[in-house]
């Protein structure tokens, strides 16, 4: 792997507040490089999801700017920006009234691809996430297991072939076994596709497993960005504290 990577996303002094009273994010500076998997790690309410939503302009910064491909998100047409970014959320957010085929083919459809090309792409994506198309094309989300739904969610996010993927606790709602399985598949997939991924998680193990870098957040501030190995043996007291708390909680499961 080459180390020379260009910056894809850049946060410059970004703050976000709902009202004057509630600041969800303060003075965030962070860069995401091409091809890396950056994990946003932190407890609930630390501002991880807010950070993620600022990237595809689901939210707009109150101060500072978020640059994607060198342009501020406010200069981007929000629709164009979002169609170029894959988005996976918890519980997948699949459209319950659409079949798997229409769910996965959504972005190509919105982009006006010809139907046969959409279908081919949908089949390709389903193969990619390990769901045989002939079995799954015509199913509806409620006929899928949690793991299958999440796979469809990933296939849908990848269908438009976006270079960038945002994932908000994509595997959070799965049982431990299925989660481990899908994390493994995701790792293999990412090894092949080399997308730039920003993933929100509160699971330290997931962050260590999947991340090339880990950004630790606490109450709306970035504590620091670390390589997984640095993180595990961190000298920074705040990181060490997070690792310790997590280990203590997880101690009895012996993982």
């Amino acid at each position: 792997m080459t180390e020379a990577r260009e910056t894809v996303i850049e946060f410059r002094g970004v703050s976000y507040c709902v009202s004057n009273a509630q600041q969800l994010l303060s003075d965030l500076n962070l860069t995401v490089r091409c091809g890396e998997t950056l994990m946003l790690l932190g407890r609930s309410g630390s501002g991880k999801t807010t950070t993620l939503k600022l990237i595809n302009r689901m939210l707009e910064p109150s101060a500072g700017e978020v640059r994607v491909d060198g342009r501020s998100t406010l200069e981007w047409d929000a629709i164009r920006l979002r169609r170029g970014i894959g988005y996976v959320i918890q519980e997948a957010g699949l459209f319950p009234h659409f079949t798997v085929e229409r769910n996965v083919g959504l972005v190509p459809h919105l982009e006006g691809w010809p139907p046969e090309k959409i279908r081919a792409r949908v089949c390709e994506m389903l193969e990619l996430v390990g769901l045989p198309p002939e079995q799954f094309l015509s199913r509806r989300p409620h006929q899928l297991s949690g793991g299958q739904r999440q796979r469809v969610g990933v296939a849908r996010a990848l269908a438009g072939d976006p270079p960038l993927l945002l994932m908000d606790e994509p595997f959070g709602a799965l049982d431990p076994l299925t989660r481990a399985e899908i994390q493994g598949e995701f790792q293999a997939l990412q090894g092949r596709l080399k997308k730039t991924v920003v993933m929100v998680t509160h699971d330290l193990r997931e962050a260590l497993l999947l991340g090339t870098r880990i950004a630790l957040m606490e109450s709306g501030k970035l504590t620091g960005v670390f390589a997984p190995r640095e993180f595990e043996h961190a000298t920074d007291p705040r990181v060490a504290a997070y690792v310790r708390v997590f280990r203590a909680r997880d101690g009895q499961s012996n993982l």
Binding site: N56, L81, Y87, G93, L94, F95, P96, L110, R140
Partner: protein, 211 residues
Amino acid sequence: METLNFFIKNQGQILQLTLEHLWLVGTSMLLAMAIGLPVGIFLTRRQAFRKPVIGGVNIVQTIPSLALFGFLLPVPWLGERADRLAIAALTLYALLPVVRNTFTGIVGVDPNVREAARGMGMTDRQVLFKVELPLAMGVILAGVRVATVISVGVATIAAAIGAGGLGEFIFRGVAMVDNRVILAGAIPAAALALLLDMLLGFLERKLTYVQ
């Protein structure tokens, strides 16, 4: 038996008044949907208007129907023809269930799904027409169904202002103290309500995605 004979003897008029009744209910329901759906959708986009608007249609609902017919009588163009007036009043009555259910139906769509739709780059229009409305369809149609059934009942009162419909028989029967005449209006009206209810229930099941 006697009632049945009366029905058979007057079947022509029963049919005609039933059709008049259907015309009053059908037209007012179409109008209520044409107004209520956009208003309900608008309220989901500008929630500040929700209280005054829902409150407003709520108040209309509380006005006794006979009084509402009376209130509308002096309104220039409306008051000229009785059926016009009746349709206007019935439309106002049907507005509440249509507006409210459109609003609650759309607001009740899983926020995860809406978020995914926006996050994948759907425009506001696409989110509305491809995601929110199809998913809210069951609730919206339930509102239309309730409004229709209520309308069939309220429309009988329209006869009091000379707008026709099955109420003619009912008012005549009350005046004549003749149950057969009352029933000639009441039974077809009840049947009409049941029939429309079944029809719309069928539509509701057809158009609602299976869970």
